[in-house]
């Protein structure tokens, strides 16, 4: 058992037989600890953590773990993603499409451009499909009809084209640059 990190195949079966998980699930709200890449600790209810497909499969592979390290995720976007998933759990228990739509709209409206963009890779990594859709739609709405320069600064993208390369690309697809708003 002590070498379980190297050979996880058999440990799943043994832990299922041991009494430990039963005593734990008997508690009304089991907490799961998530650790961000900047070493912040988040205690979340199991039902919330199971919204994260990546965390869920982590537990399926090694059920005896108590802390899930998230090496690709920093604390700020993680806390916002947790906030979103907590609400989604409530809507799962009491389905109300109109309220859910309203919540999702408000959730993105109050976020800065940077917050939205920073959450996208987190939602993708944790495989939260609903949130990824909400974020991508919000981003699409915010950059609608905006200039290339605006979109670059929105995403925080470094332009690595030379001026000549960029001019040639713009000429090649001149049709795409008509009807763009002034910044």
């Amino acid at each position: 058992m002590s070498s379980s990190t190297d050979s996880p195949t058999l440990t799943t079966e043994t832990t299922q037989l041991s009494p430990q998980p039963d005593t734990e699930t008997a508690k009304p709200t089991k907490k799961i600890t998530l650790k961000s890449s900047d070493n912040q600790i988040f205690e979340v209810e199991e039902s919330v953590a199971m919204e994260f497909a990546t965390v869920k499969s982590f537990f399926e592979d090694s059920p005896s773990t108590d802390t899930v390290p998230l090496p690709n995720v920093t604390a700020k976007p993680l806390s916002q993603v947790i906030e979103f998933c907590k609400e989604q759990i409530k809507f799962k228990a009491n389905p109300d499409e109109a309220q859910k739509k309203k919540y999702n709209a408000e959730f993105v409206t109050e976020k800065s451009d940077k917050d939205l963009v920073d959450m996208i890779p987190v939602a993708n990594y944790l495989e939260i499909k609903d949130l990824l859709d909400v974020l991508n739609q919000a981003v699409a709405d915010r950059i609608e009809n905006k200039s290339v320069e605006y979109v670059r600064s929105f995403f925080g993208i470094d332009n690595d084209f030379t001026a000549e390369e960029e001019a040639a690309l713009r000429r090649e697809h001149a049709w795409a640059y008509e009807g763009v708003d002034e910044d």
Binding site: V148, F155, I157, D158, F161, R170, Y177
Partner: protein
């Protein structure tokens, strides 16, 4: 300063394709000049609009428009030849002279059907009809068989100046929206 604001560049291309797929087609095309990583992302975006009016200027003489229409069809031809995603969400095609490009239009529709397109919009009306005040004109194009054969995944179908056989609509079990129009 630029190096620490480049938030989105370390995302995998597969995620950038998802982001670009939330944008209108013209806007997705403009992402090609954001940076080298974005150069070809839009070529796999899943909302595709082949719209003649992006290329053809209605205020120019017909001889110019004819050339612009050739450029437009050539663009669409190349786009579908290079496309690498398995599934597309939307395909819109607007062409005022379908009779001049029958095989290309057939190919575009074969392409859409083979990628299990969810929303299909076809507009073969000609703006000059209105100028000539013609009250009756034949539908300019007949919906080809592959569209019916892949009908079971279509959620939305919009047909303008495109004729069809009602009896062939037997397996459109996912269809939620149907719009038909003459011009």
């Amino acid at each position: 300063m630029n190096s620490n604001i480049d938030r989105i560049s370390n995302l995998p291309s597969s995620l950038l394709i998802i982001i670009a797929s939330f944008l209108p087609f013209k806007e997705a095309a403009r992402t090609s000049v954001l940076s080298k990583q974005w150069l070809n992302i839009w070529r796999d975006a899943m909302h595709i609009q082949f719209n003649e009016t992006f290329f053809v200027k209605s205020d120019e003489p017909e001889e110019n428009r004819k050339v612009q229409r050739e450029v437009f069809i050539n663009f669409a031809r190349q786009f579908i030849a290079n496309y690498s995603q398995q599934v597309i969400k939307t395909l819109g095609l607007a062409c005022s002279k379908p009779g001049d490009f029958l095989s290309d239009i057939q190919n575009i529709l074969m392409f859409a059907s083979s990628r299990d397109v969810r929303e299909l919009g076809l507009d073969f009306s000609d703006p000059t009809w209105r100028e000539q005040a013609l009250e009756n004109h034949q539908a300019a194009f007949e919906l080809p068989l592959p569209v019916y054969e892949h009908g079971q995944v279509l959620r939305s179908l919009k047909l303008f100046s495109c004729s069809f056989k009602v009896s062939n609509f037997s397996n459109f079990c996912s269809l939620k929206t149907l719009s038909l129009g003459l011009d």
